[in-house]
Amino acid sequence: MTNTKKLKEFINFPGLGDLALSGARPLFGVLLGLLAGAGLIALSGVNPLDAYKALLQGALGSPQSFSNVLVRASPLLLGGVGAAIGIKTGVWNIGTEGYMYAGAIAAGAVGLIPLPVPPIIHILLAFLAAMLFSGIWGLLAAYLRAYRGVNEVVTTIMMNYVAIYFVSWMVQEPQPMAEPGSFFPMSKMIAPTAKLPILMSGTSLHPGFIIGIAACILFFLVLRFTPFGFRTRMLGANPEAARYAGVNVKRQILFALLIGAVMGGVAGAFEIMGLKMRVYMDFVAGVGYEAVAVALLAGGNPLGVIASALFFSALKAGGATMSIQTGVGAPMTVVIEALCVIFVIAVGYGERKRLERLEKKGKEDEEVVQNGG
């Protein structure tokens, strides 16, 4: 008896219960995705159990390998939580890839200036620049969606490509940021004062994942415990009721998209100052889209973003080991990622919406008839 009571309390605790309940469907989808991936691995002539074992070992086998997971998780956490806010508000912010480029180029630009300041100041300045620039970058699509009703999905995707080519332009000679005489266009190395500290020697573990997890928790708390979060949840669940409750719908949508942009910019800045140390074209290579997938897998729940970001990064980090030990190509992990998301949306999302509609329809018919006379 006490067990059921505890379970009830747990379910009723703000946030956690929703997470546990909404977690069931994504988990089922992920399971199906892993199964389908196992099928593909078997097709390529490798025992899937061996492959997954190698993958797991590659991700969690040693502190070094786990640090690799955390490094890869950083942009997924930061970008993912930004996209998640969009999902919670009811808008599809697919622009994370572009925001990462925008943030990276701004952080890189500030980072490579040799400033006579302590590292902490230099780093903060670079982050500030990244957030500012990616925010401005996101403003166009956000404004168009909020105030002009232009489909945000297409504009954010288009702006991703604009961002990629903008970065490519900025790191090419004769632009001042470009590394002179390099074979491949890239920016100069950032100044030592702008480099983030490494947390574990012998690895490239930078503090990005800590900030990422902190951001997820922060946004979870914001959604749960602030009026801003309340407005967001109301708007995402029922725009009409939100309007009636006095919410400025347009402004709220603008903010949601801008948060996605700024967080994407932070993600890009971490990649530059913690890992790559310079900016070049294609350095993101789809991570922004993966961050959107992470947010989707989490159903927009910031705490769920932590779980799904770690899952994705573990897959990718373990992929190399899997490839070496069993000969299954590392790109298999990308395929598994995509399959997981596809199964999650095919199993969970559509079905839930359909049930909601059926439920609503039944009620509407009922009301119409009872009103008759």
């Binding site: 390529s44 599809w92 697919i94 166009l140 699509a141 168009l144 002009r148 232009v150 489909n151 999905v153 297409v154 504009t155 995707i157 288009m158 702006m159 490509y161 604009v162 990629i164 080519y165 903008f166 490519s168 332009w169 090419q172 294609d282 789809g286 889209y289 993966e290 959107v292 997938a293 989707l296 190509g329 790109p331 298999m332 992990t333 990308v334 395929v335 990622e337 995509a338 399959l339 998301v341 596809i342 949306i345 095919a346 999302y349 559509g350 079905e351 919406k353 359909r354 509609r357 059926l358 329809k361």
Partner: protein, 308 residues
């Protein structure tokens, strides 16, 4: 610019614009039926690899095309099942198809080591050598492989199908008001499937044209380099009209050709401006700055047959 430079630029415009047009032919029907197939980038990638692989193994472009079409049907059906029957979010589904394709083609490509370096049989040039020496149009038009010619003719056929056939009318009706279409006795879900599968076929063929049209090899990873998204852009800019879309594809192809040329030759104008152009024009078009372009009314929205 020298005359021969202009000629080679025009030639490259058609070479790069052609595959875009091919892909757009299918996408316009899909979008007219209300389904945005964002997965065309990924399907192109698969098509590009399949074309090269089959051509390598059989030495026949006919087989390559046939298998590519089969692949397009398969992937198109899968996309239709997810977005039409399961009513998943079209954009997210498309992005995942692209992700899976990026990984999948990398995997498959690794299994075919022989195609990495060798050139395979490519699409033939339709006109004999004697035509190639005709000034300007010789090198620009007659030297083009057969797929370019098909790409130049197809938009007109597509427009004919869309505006002059019963099926085209049905597709237009379904994308604008599926409930009304269903009331008129049309089978909405089936029509959407057909349109989406068509987009799969042409995306695969477009990818195939990318590899077998000229270069004859597959470059792992960035083979399509966002060209699927350029097509999405062209469809918006072309106002969902096959011929106008083809023109947009040619303009974008010209920008592509120009930037490729500038990358090799070097230029004062940054070539990236030309790379950004298609996307910027699209955002402007959607914002209502360039002309007035109105998407089909149920563009991107799922259709629930239970709604009357």
């Amino acid at each position: 610019m020298e005359a021969d430079q202009i000629i080679s630029w025009l030639q490259a415009t058609l070479r790069w614009g052609g595959p875009l047009i091919l892909v757009s032919i299918g996408e316009v029907f899909s979008e007219r039926s209300g389904v945005i197939n964002v997965g065309i980038e990924g399907i192109m990638l698969f098509g590009a690899l399949t074309g090269v692989a089959i051509s390598y193994f059989t030495g026949s472009v006919v087989w390559a095309v046939l298998v590519t079409i089969l692949l397009g049907i398969l992937l198109g059906s899968g996309f239709a099942y997810l977005t039409v029957s399961r009513r998943t979010n079209q954009v997210v589904t498309g992005l995942m198809v692209n992700l899976a394709a990026l990984g999948g083609t990398n995997l498959l490509f690794a299994l075919l080591p022989a195609t990495r370096s060798e050139r395979v049989t490519t699409f033939p040039v339709l006109f004999p050598e004697s035509f190639h020496s005709i000034p300007v149009i010789g090198p620009v038009l007659f030297k083009q492989p057969v797929n370019t010619w098909i790409a130049l003719i197809l938009p007109f056929i597509a427009a004919w199908v869309l505006y002059r056939t019963t099926w085209g009318l049905n597709v237009r009706a379904v994308g604008d008001n599926p409930q009304a279409a269903a009331t008129a006795g049309l089978r909405v879900v089936r029509l959407k499937y057909q349109a989406v599968i068509l987009s799969g076929i042409f995306a695969a063929l477009g990818g195939c044209a990318l590899t077998l049209g000229e270069v004859g090899y597959f470059a792992s990873g960035g083979m399509t380099a966002g060209r699927g998204f350029v097509v999405l852009a062209a469809v918006v800019v072309g106002g969902w009209d096959p011929v106008k879309i083809a023109l947009a594809c040619l303009v974008f192809g010209a920008a592509d050709a120009a930037q490729l040329r500038m990358q090799t030759v070097g230029s004062d104008i940054p070539y990236q401006i030309f790379q950004m152009l298609p996307y910027l024009i699209t955002v402007a078009a959607l914002a209502g700055l360039v002309g007035r372009t109105k998407p089909p009314k149920t563009w991107g929205a799922p259709y629930d047959p239970a709604d009357i």
